[in-house]
């Protein structure tokens, strides 16, 4: 039986960053209530683990969906840069990383998964309609 197959490639990256969960429009008490220890004004950090999944046709000439020689520097460049807006929850980091990676030219970025600690992970999956 010949069935259509879908192939994806997932690569894992690591980066370390500090953050503080805080909304300026909240009072201190409200920040403390909503974000708890994460709103400590001095901040805290995590060793983030990032999984990036790309899908697309496997190029018969290379056997690859995407060449890691292209994907790795692209992710390094797009993700190692500082994060600007929004409360830096892992949810927002995850969505922001997707926003920065979706323009990868060689394959469709389908999924971004961020592990903030070994006990928390966050996943953003692009809808089929979202084009790379």
């Amino acid at each position: 039986m010949r069935q259509a197959l879908k192939v994806s490639l997932t690569r894992r990256y690591r980066f370390a960053a500090s953050h503080r969960l805080h909304r300026p429009e909240f009072s201190e008490a409200e920040n403390a209530r909503v974000y708890g220890k994460c709103s400590n004004p001095h901040g805290h950090g995590h060793n983030y683990e990032l999984e990036v999944t790309v899908t697309g046709a496997v190029d018969p000439a290379t056997g690859m969906i995407a060449n890691l020689g292209e994907l790795d520097p692209f992710v390094e460049r797009q993700v190692v840069e500082e994060f600007a807006e929004n409360v830096p929850t892992a949810e927002n980091i995850c969505r922001e990383i997707y926003r920065r990676l979706k323009s990868f030219p060689a394959a469709r970025v389908e999924r971004v998964r961020v592990e903030e600690t070994s006990k928390n992970s966050f996943e953003f999956e692009a809808m089929a309609s979202e084009q790379a």
Binding site: Q3, A4, K6, L9, T10, T53, T55, T62, G63, I65
Partner: protein, 142 residues
């Protein structure tokens, strides 16, 4: 529906080389992986089968049976082999993680008679894996 996953490990050698490319092009596209003496990986294969548990046994399929299929179809074919030279299912294909995962899917799919092969996930290292699934099993997203 329940998904059942079994894991096996195998070690194999490979290199990436396209005979239609010049040597310089092979090196540019494949980097260190183009070294024709080859290099190796400890691969980890996770195979997921989906189905309803049989009320009589409580099992989607007997994991021992799945283990034997994985050993026969994948372990015996690929463990301590050179993937460029010794695995006919990969002949004419560059043995990337993507292509090996597809070859494993094609080997296993007809052998799974209880439940349905749902996903083949092949880790080349803890930081790199390929998934192969049936295109229609993506919940209507693809």
């Amino acid at each position: 529906m329940i998904r059942v996953t079994r894991k096996i490990e195998f070690s194999a050698a490979h290199f990436y080389h396209n005979p239609d490319f010049s040597e310089a092009e092979n090196r540019r596209v494949f980097g260190k992986c183009a070294n024709t003496h080859g290099h190796g990986h400890n691969y980890t294969l996770e195979v997921t089968v989906a189905g309803e548990p049989d009320p009589a046994t409580g099992m989607v399929l007997d994991l021992k049976e799945l283990k034997d299929i994985l050993q026969r179809e994948v372990g015996d074919r690929m463990d301590h082999r050179h993937l460029n030279f010794e695995v006919p299912e990969l002949a004419g294909r560059i043995p990337t993680c993507e292509n090996i995962a597809v070859a494993i899917w094609k080997l296993l799919e007809p052998k799974i008679t209880r439940g349905k092969l749902d996903r083949v996930r092949l880790y080349e290292s803890p930081d790199l894996y390929a998934d192969c699934t049936a295109a229609e099993s993506t919940g209507g997203r693809g």
